[in-house]
């Protein structure tokens, strides 16, 4: 008999045994009888007319079974990839939404755009066949940067999208902001770039598709964060497969970070191909292939202005952003730099007026979509850099200016001027905690010690809020979402009292098998080891929207909590029958149903057993069985937030920035498993540190070639880049989620880039440096120091 493990405990993870022993089951590990191998042939050009494809040599190559192209897609009457979120400009004019074909038709629009799919007996034969395809391209000039793409003479990606602008979007009260700027004692300005990132989950994307003629059913195994959504988008909207004839399985998935959230053309092509060749087809991306086909993240160019009164109080904030969409609209592409960005520009401050204009722009680059944090790190970066610039220009201490403008704890719920209403929070409490943990009061001593070695030390703050728990369907629907964003859970109690949970979220490293089991163990009083969590298979799990936007615990956990409440309610009915007592007199506590005020009781196991052995049951009022399902749609987003403090040391000889200390105090609401929360915070912080110091997807303007096209050229954070971080939680409870949870998956990535860059600027401020764009690579810093024309090396 195992132990009940409750909320707030930190049991070791259920999923670890299989991962530690090499027994995980990732898509690339799966083999199917008669399996063939597929290879995608991708455009080597950023922008080109596709004049024709000669398949004959490839088809004659040994082992090659088929070569599929855009013409075959057209001949089969198949749809393009749908965009899941439609946005409109201020006048209500919908965004330009050009088709996104599964395989290129007429034109290719980025290096990596899919042109053909070659299927052969083995991967080697498919590769050899792919080499023999004769593709006639008429190469066109590429445009990869947003500033260049909106110029009148820029190459045009789509004939009916003038200036490559998909949508000219805005939010906020423009007139109120203008009025406030006229009254301002000081206006701080900042231009910045939010660098393009590549998600790099360690498991490359992969898919296997199979068609069974006997049942007319398709199965797709795919590296996905949301298999039900893939089933819906691909089945209903791309391939016209009836939902009940399509099974999508996302087994163990080796990291997602948003990159595996979207419906990709590869999934549709491979599923379609499996029926055409009547054999299972497998495709596994190489890392380099992932670089030109996994959706990228961020990529903004921004001009921001902050108006302040003479005391440093923020009066108004104005932000103009150009956001890169890449060559096509990915699943949630247009939503990220608009709805998930502008509403967070209030941050944790009381700024009364905010206006944001976002031009969403097509370029000849990999499509951009949600990447860990998605829109919210970009908002935090602009705001927290802006606050530092304003503080420096007005001669106000950076902590003091934050305090003067922070929303006090007692002012919650707090309505911002940009749509969202924060339900709870305590930014000042997080800041106070972080100041102590980071030992800010002794920073001067450490800075002097660095100076004595000829190094510059800097301290950087980032106080932030995010909108998590995507999302309230009603709210999302008003903002253009084309689907609901609720979650579902089924709690199946077996006759023995053991429990299987079927949940619509997806676990790809977040530890859901453990956290969700704790919730069930806690609520039902059953042993932790007697709870199994099932996810990632549309044939086993009723429905779900998957895992992204820190929604699993917030929305999925709430559905699970509701379903367990229904199990308890049904259990009380069964207990009232068995104990011959009125239902209102039945109490449930610590796994026991008892009659109030008596010692008569039945254990959870006894009730479960009785539910399936309905002898003498009042069947007219009580059904047998003990299985309950709940769907949960939240009333609001949740608003995790916190304060991050980074401390860096810059070597002026080389320009190298070393992160020497990192502190994070985050408000994530109720903590179900502190060990897992801490792990999520660590991982998120390092992804943000990666953006700040190392990572950058670099394109060559004109040719559209991705220059950082492999792990050799794209600098990922490694173990020796990092210090031991100090993370803690300072939680206020969410007022509208059943357990008070807020979500923790993205907080690290949202808080950290601004903290690190603010620290780098602080370290160099004595040289007149006021801004450093990300990533703060040694080359960039060294050049900055040379241009500063000031004494660099300490004497």
């Amino acid at each position: 008999m195992g132990e009940v493990i409750g909320i707030g405990a930190a049991p070791k993870r259920k999923e670890d045994q299989r991962f530690l022993t090499g027994r995980g089951n990732y898509v690339s590990d799966i083999k199917r009888p008669g399996m063939t191998a597929g290879v995608f042939v991708r455009s080597p050009h950023g922008h080109a007319v596709l004049r024709g494809i000669d398949k004959s040599a490839a088809l004659a190559s040994p082992g090659v079974m088929a070569v599929l192209t855009g013409d075959d897609v057209k001949a089969d009457g198949l749809g393009g990839l749908p965009c899941g979120w439609g946005i409109s400009d201020a006048k209500g004019v919908p965004m330009k939404e050009p088709p996104f074909p599964m395989l290129a038709q007429g034109k290719v629009r980025f290096v990596g755009d899919m042109v053909a799919f070659v299927i052969a007996e083995t991967p080697e034969q498919a590769n050899a066949g792919a080499e023999l395809l004769n593709i006639d391209y008429e190469v066109l000039p590429s445009v990869v940067g947003v500033l260049e793409a909106v110029r009148p003479d820029a190459p045009q990606l789509f004939d009916d999208v003038p200036n490559n602008i998909c949508c000219d979007w805005e939010l906020g009260d423009k007139a109120a902001v203008e009025t406030a700027f006229k009254k301002a004692a000081h206006v701080a300005k900042l231009s910045l770039v939010n660098n393009r990132l590549i998600g790099n989950p360690m498991e490359p994307r992969a898919a296997i598709a199979e068609y069974e003629p006997g049942t007319d059913r398709f199965t797709l195994w795919t590296t996905s964060q949301f298999p039900h959504v893939v089933r819906f988008l691909m089945g209903a909207l791309v391939l016209n497969i009836p939902q009940h004839k399509l099974r999508v399985v996302a087994p163990d998935v080796g990291g997602g970070f948003g990159v595996k959230q979207f419906h990709y053309g590869e999934e549709a092509v491979i599923t379609w191909a499996a029926k055409r060749v009547h054999r299972p087809v497998k495709w596994v991306a190489s890392r380099s292939e992932g670089y030109v086909s996994d959706r990228h993240g961020r990529d903004h160019v921004t001009e921001a202005e902050l108006a302040l009164d003479e005391n440093g109080k923020f009066l108004a904030f104005r932000v103009n952003t150009l956001a890169n969409m890449g060559g096509y609209l990915s699943t949630f592409g247009p939503n990220i730099p608009t709805n998930l960005y502008a509403p967070l520009l209030g941050g944790v401050y009381t700024t009364p007026a905010i206006y944001c204009n976002v031009k969403v722009v097509f370029t000849n680059t990999v499509p951009v979509d949600a990447y860990r944090g998605a829109g919210r790190p970009e908002a935090t970066f602009v705001l927290e850099r802006m606050v530092d610039v304003a503080a420096s220009e007005m001669g106000i201490d950076r902590v003091e200016i934050r305090r003067r403008n922070m929303i006090p704890k007692e002012a919650y719920p707090y309505q911002t001027p940009v749509l969202v209403q924060y339900d709870s929070g305590d930014p000042m409490g997080c800041l106070d905690g972080a100041l102590v943990t980071a030992d800010v009061k002794n920073f001067g001593v450490r800075k002097a010690a660095s100076a004595s070695k000829g190094k510059f030390r800097g301290l950087g703050y980032s106080t932030y809020v995010e909108a998590c728990g995507l999302a309230p369907s009603r709210f999302a629907g008003r903002l253009g979402a084309r689907g609901g964003l609720y979650e579902s859970a089924t709690v199946r109690v077996h006759p023995t009292g053991q429990v299987t949970v079927m949940i619509g979220t997806h676990n790809h490293g977040q530890g859901h098998e453990t956290t969700f089991a704790q919730i069930v163990s806690d609520k039902l009083g059953v042993a932790f080891e007697n709870v199994d969590i099932v996810f990632g298979d549309t044939d086993r799990v009723q429905f779900g929207m998957g895992t992204y936007g820190s929604r699993s615990l917030v929305v999925g956990g709430a559905a699970l909590s509701k379903a367990t409440d229904k199990v308890i309610a049904k259990g009380k009915k069964i207990a009232s029958h068995l104990l011959e007592a009125a239902e209102v007199d039945i109490q449930f506590e610590s796994g026991k149903f008892s009659v109030a005020g008596t010692d008569r009781m039945k254990t959870f196991e006894e009730i479960a057993g009785a539910a399936y052995v309905p002898h003498n049951y009042p069947l007219e009022v009580l059904e047998p069985g003990l299985e309950e399902q709940a769907y949960y749609d939240p009333v609001n987003f949740t608003y995790p937030g916190g304060c991050h403090i980074a401390e860096v040391e810059v070597d002026p000889e080389t320009g190298t920035v070393t992160l020497v200390n990192y502190t994070a105090v985050d408000d994530v609401g109720t903590v179900i498993n502190p060990m897992i929360v801490e792990g999520q915070l660590h991982g998120g912080i390092v992804q943000g540190v990666g953006q700040a110091l190392f990572e950058n997807a670099v394109y060559d303007e004109g040719s559209g070639q991705l220059l950082s096209g492999s792990l050799m050229d794209y600098c990922m954070p490694r173990a020796d880049h990092l210090p031991m971080m100090k993370v803690a939680t300072h939680s206020t409870l969410c007022t509208h989620t059943p357990m008070g949870v807020k979500g923790c998956g993205e907080v690290g990535t949202i808080g950290s880039p601004a903290a690190v860059i603010n620290a780098v600027v602080d370290a160099l401020s004595h040289l007149g440096v006021t801004h450093v764009d990300m990533p703060a690579t040694p080359n960039r810093i060294w050049r900055l120091l040379q241009n500063a024309s000031l004494p660099v090396a300490a004497e």
């Binding site: 530690l20 790099n200 498991e203 990291g255 190489s286 792990g679 991982g683 990922m716 020796d720 031991m724």
Partner: protein, 163 residues
């Protein structure tokens, strides 16, 4: 054309026919169905494929299968205690104890590197561990708990040796 190679795989004599261009990672995964060794990149940067050849850690995605001939090879599947049991190596236990993994994809390579580090230098410092893990990328954990796990695993390996 294939060649025949014989080697010791996780303690068992093994003979296979391979194409000379087959990589060890492919041989393990495709031919021998040992899918615990993962392939995370194509430039030998990520370390998800680390195995021990002649007792030393190597990246099996850039090693040709014929190089195995006559040598002992240890993979993640060879680490556990009794076959079929859930008994784990002290380093595996340490990773579990200290939450040194999240999605689990880089984990087999991390463990193989970690065991080699601890074997080579029993009194590992944090700096040694961070430096020693430079060839293994993890995107999930931020490395902090991996570093803690490796140090604890090394201590446990030392303690086991002393018994």
């Amino acid at each position: 054309m294939t060649v025949q190679i014989s080697f010791t795989l996780n303690g068992r004599p093994t003979t296979v026919e391979v194409e000379p261009a087959t990589l060890v990672a492919e041989l393990l995964r495709e031919q021998l169905n040992l899918t615990g060794t993962h392939i995370g990149c194509d430039t030998s940067q990520c370390g998800a494929c680390v195995v021990h050849l002649n007792g030393l850690p190597v990246k099996s995605c850039t090693l040709l299968a014929p190089a195995l001939d006559g040598a002992p090879l240890l993979t993640i599947e060879g680490l556990q205690g009794a076959p079929g049991s859930n008994q784990m190596h002290p380093m595996q236990e340490a990773f579990r104890e200290h939450h040194g993994l999240q999605c689990g994809f880089c984990t087999p390579g991390m463990l193989m590197t970690a065991i080699a580090l601890a074997t080579e230098k029993p009194d590992l410092t944090e700096a040694d561990v961070r430096h020693g893990l430079e060839g293994n990328i993890c995107r999930c954990t931020g490395y902090q708990n991996i570093v803690v796990s490796v140090m604890a695993g090394a201590a446990a390996m030392n303690a086991a040796k002393g018994e």
